[in-house]
């Protein structure tokens, strides 16, 4: 089966996020003074062939741990969607 996956990488709670903090400080200058808790992360999309969605998720989890994210400072969330079979 073929799946599309989206990995969202964010800072671990408690780890300072200088990009988020800077964006948060910039928004009031444009008049948006009701915004808080801004966090800037990154998003990775990929396509993976695996026997089923669980297997795909497990492999992506391993890939996150070993390369895609740095578990010392980053948390990640994985979303797997089945792709329609190609003709």
């Amino acid at each position: 089966m073929r799946y599309e996956a989206r990995v969202e990488i964010t800072h671990l709670p408690g780890i300072a996020d200088p990009q988020g903090a800077t964006v948060e400080r910039s928004l009031p200058a444009l008049g948006y003074d009701n915004v808080s808790q801004v966090r800037v992360g990154k998003s990775i999309r990929l396509v993976i062939d695996a026997p089923d969605a669980d297997a795909a998720g497990a492999q992506i989890d391993e890939m996150c741990h070993r390369l895609l994210a740095n578990p010392v400072i980053e948390a990640y969330a994985i979303e797997v969607t089945e792709l329609a079979a190609t003709q």
Binding site: I15, A16, P18, Q19, A21, T22, L67, N70, V72, I73
Partner: protein, 227 residues
């Protein structure tokens, strides 16, 4: 015999010649090590220099840690060999798990290129063995991601075990506990954001980095004598 210093070169490394020049000037024998070669060619010490290894893609140091040479560096470090990561090299060593913690974007999101004061916090490391404890060194920094972070347990261990090697006198980047450099449990692996090789000659405005590189050469020679 002069200590042989292997200087790791990844695609995107750009401080290898500065390190080689400073090492040679201080009496060492520099040799560059290509990242795809899983061999240290008999080096007595290893320097992972600054730059933008693999373009800093994904995260600084994230791709570099998988280069074949890093397996050899890890084995050398485990055997007690002196390894120093400067700037991007520090980032590579944390990604490789040879040093704890991580380096993230500077507080304020400024790229910093200036000379800063750093205090020698311990002389029990491969990089500070010959330095005077408490001495303030003027060293150049040149980085966007030098903001050291780690969890509270690691921070306590670094403090309790006297593994914070250099601290900024005035914190330029938001680094936890003013950390500019740390060492491993065995004290042979050191990572620091400032560039000692750029402060090893009066023409460059400071010679304060020389004592750090001399310490590395002395540690390397001891190791070579033992081996």
């Amino acid at each position: 015999m002069s200590a042989r210093v292997g200087i790791v070169v990844f695609p995107g490394t750009n401080c290898e010649l500065d390190v080689a020049w400073a090492v040679e000037r201080l009496g060492g024998a520099p040799e560059t090590l290509w990242h795809a070669d899983a061999e240290l060619h008999g080096a007595d010490a290893v320097v992972v220099p600054g730059g933008f290894a693999h373009g800093d893609y994904l995260r600084t140091g994230a791709i570099a840690r998988f280069s074949p040479v890093m397996d050899a560096v890890a084995r050398f470090a485990a055997a007690g060999g002196p390894v120093v990561g400067i700037c991007n090299g520090f980032q590579v060593l944390t990604e490789a798990g040879l040093l704890p913690g991580a380096l993230q974007k500077n507080a304020g999101l400024s790229f910093l290129c200036e000379t800063v004061e750093c205090r020698v916090e311990t002389t029990r490391s491969a990089l500070t063995a010959l330095a005077d404890p408490g001495r303030v060194l003027r060293l150049p920094i040149n980085h966007f991601e030098g903001n050291y972070v780690c969890d509270e347990t690691t921070r306590r261990r670094l403090r309790d075990d006297d593994r914070i090697v250099l601290r900024y006198v005035r914190n330029p980047n938001g680094s936890l506990d003013d950390i500019a450099g740390i060492c491993s449990e065995q004290r042979n692996v050191v990572g620091l954001m400032p560039h000692p090789e750029r402060a090893a000659e009066p023409l460059l405005g400071s010679t304060d980095g020389a004592v750090l590189l001399r310490s590395l050469l002395a540690t390397a020679s001891e190791g070579a004598a033992v081996a």
